[in-house]
Symmetry: C2
Subunit: 237 residues, 2 copies
């Protein structure tokens, strides 16, 4: 509805429209923040749109207007997390053109952005792991957030000096993103203080990647590696 109000708008009507847009954005953000607090307190499963609306002091109809289902709300959170992740990574990425360093930046800022969600990771995994769940990161409904996330890995690869074969470089961002999902799975299970185990796993994985990447050019390894990367990258197909 708000979108349609813009059709044929006169210049003098632009100011109220801008204010209405700002108010809508505030309401969305309020619902989002209230949802997050509720996920933390009640867990993901026991949080309903009705409860969120109540606690945000927003009418249920209004809450439904912005988020017709809990899925819509989570998709908005996904996209929001991705935008934060990109913002946190971008500045640091400007400081390095080493592929493994750049990947490290993207993975580490990603984990830091996820951290506030750790308490409800178990309930969230439960809701999202089924291949049939619209919350699944591989699902149709998650396309926007996924594009943002894969795009960040694409930037990490594109801005790096490396001598990887082109075909491999093209598929790698998707594979690095899938590796990030697996890292997030490990993180969800990690109860060590400061997620120290996840960070050590990441560091070890990156060190090994740095040692192994030059081998990817060996003719013997290149073809099986490419096949594997393509299979993994196409997990969504």
């Amino acid at each position: 509805m708000f979108e349609n109000e813009g059709v044929g708008i006169e210049p003098e009507a632009a100011e109220p429209k801008r204010r209405a847009g700002a108010k809508a954005e505030r309401t969305r953000a309020l619902i989002r923040d209230t949802a997050l607090a509720s996920f933390r307190e009640r867990g993901y499963d026991d949080t309903t749109l009705r409860l969120i609306a109540q606690e945000a002091g927003v009418s249920l109809g209004n809450a439904y207007y912005y988020f017709p289902t809990k899925n819509h709300l989570v998709q908005e959170l996904y996209a929001e997390v991705q935008r934060e992740h990109r913002a946190a990574a971008t500045e640091l990425l400007a400081g390095s053109d080493e592929l493994v360093d750049r990947l490290g930046i993207v993975y580490r800022t990603g984990l830091a952005t996820l951290e506030p969600f750790h308490a409800f990771a178990p309930g969230f995994l439960t809701a999202a792991i089924s291949p049939r769940s619209p919350l699944n990161p591989l699902a149709e409904d998650s396309a926007e957030a996924r594009e943002l996330a894969v795009g960040l890995f694409r930037d990490a690869v594109a801005g790096a000096r490396h001598s990887l074969p082109d075909d491999l470089a093209r598929s790698l961002p998707e594979v690095f993103w899938l590796a990030y999902l697996l890292l997030a799975l490990f993180w969800a299970y990690d109860r060590s203080p400061g997620r120290e185990r996840t960070l050590r796993l990441l560091d070890g994985g990156l060190r090994l990647l740095g040692l192994a990447l030059p081998l990817a050019r060996l003719p013997l390894l290149r073809r099986p590696l490419r096949e594997l990367v393509e299979l993994v990258a196409a997990v969504r197909a």
Copy 2:
């Protein structure tokens, strides 16, 4: 209770005991098979012990006697699947002392044993993925089935000629088992005919492993690899 009946039993009482044991085993198997059929028809979530008892023609009290909770029933299915898996792998393992071949045998027979469960894999993932779920393969409650599964990978490594460093060889069965869980995750998402994509991923992974394993002896790779393997193997800690 049945277990206690064996205490101080006289030789002439052994035959009725044996028959009672056989009857108990038949009832367990009946409940198990009925549960499987129900998982397939209703999905994992909508299957209750009450429904299973009804369909098996067993009193609810009797069903509860064997399986106090749905978790107990699933743990029994886990263990049963592991026994089938071992039976399917053992004969084939006798025919090879190549590490990668042997791993291929364990992975392939494992996927074949899982296949009848593919239809309810999504509901099952949902029930088992939470780190807090007793159905989680890493959970305390799943220890019996897990020991059987890791034991099979241990046999696969122990019966192979290889020149891997000892410390690595010790941790690897656990890592290969975790890789199997990830393969099963990929399989759960795989809708290709005959799970052709999962099998190709497996073949590609094994080929790459075969090429990469000799490199594990290189001093440069050996330490970071060992650290990584130990971190991954300790995911349960």
